[in-house]
Symmetry: C2
DNA sequence: CGGGATCCCGGATGATACTG
DNA sequence: CAGTATCATCCGGGATCCCG
């Protein structure tokens, strides 16, 4: 990671902005767990067993750089770090809730119905 | 694309579902434009000049398979096809709106403020 | 404990040419 | 017009090892 500032590309479509910010493979889960309470690095590892350390670190960094989460370092030995939603991150919560609600409905629909693809209306 | 039904993976976090559905590189833009009105394939190409035909087709197919959009074929010569939000797709609109609203605010913030990355609170 | 540094793969994306 | 087919490329993500 060369530059210390993230280049915020010009996104004409604000939806893309949101996708870019919460769209990483593990970011929804991370935010999901932080929604509950602050979490240490090792706690997140346990809560999301499939994630590798590298990806957890990387996604936490991105969320941090986007100011959604706060990283607090306790310079004890051994070191302790915990992550929490920032004030700004909290403003995203309603958005996440709405997404969740729709996602749940969609999941339910698709658990019962197999999607018949490519129907293709003809006129 | 082998199977004609999409395997809907078990997603514990509904946010991931939404990301999966609208998170393709070009999907937000496509939906964005369809939000306005029905669009023909060639219209979408003009509205999103950077997309290749292949990717436009692919993402339209995925949106169609997820039932968010409807593909209507007019077998004229030359053929005419147009895409529109389906009824189900319309249920996603409020979600998109909320995402848009937050995304716009975030974009404005980041257009004026350069993000100072990795502040790292110490205690 | 909480990472960083490297190497690597596969799927996502792109470029180009062709077609019903 | 609205795609499909093929080949090339890029990059997110994983595996592994190392470090203060």
């Amino acid at each position: 990671m060369e530059a210390n500032v993230e280049v915020v590309a010009e996104r004409k479509c604000p939806i893309e902005t949101v996708i870019h910010i919460v769209g990483g493979k593990w970011k929804p889960l991370i935010l999901w767990h932080l929604l509950d309470s602050n979490k240490r690095f090792s706690e997140l590892e346990k809560l999301i067993p499939e994630v590798t350390q590298k990806m957890l670190t990387q996604h936490l960094r991105e969320l941090e750089n986007n100011r959604l989460i706060t990283r607090t370092i306790y310079p004890t030995v051994p070191i302790k770090v915990d992550y929490s939603l920032s004030e700004y991150g909290l403003t995203l919560v309603p958005v996440l809730k709405v997404m969740c609600a729709w996602g749940e409905i969609h999941n339910q629909m698709n658990s019962s119905v197999r999607v018949p693809a490519r129907v293709g209306v003809q006129i």
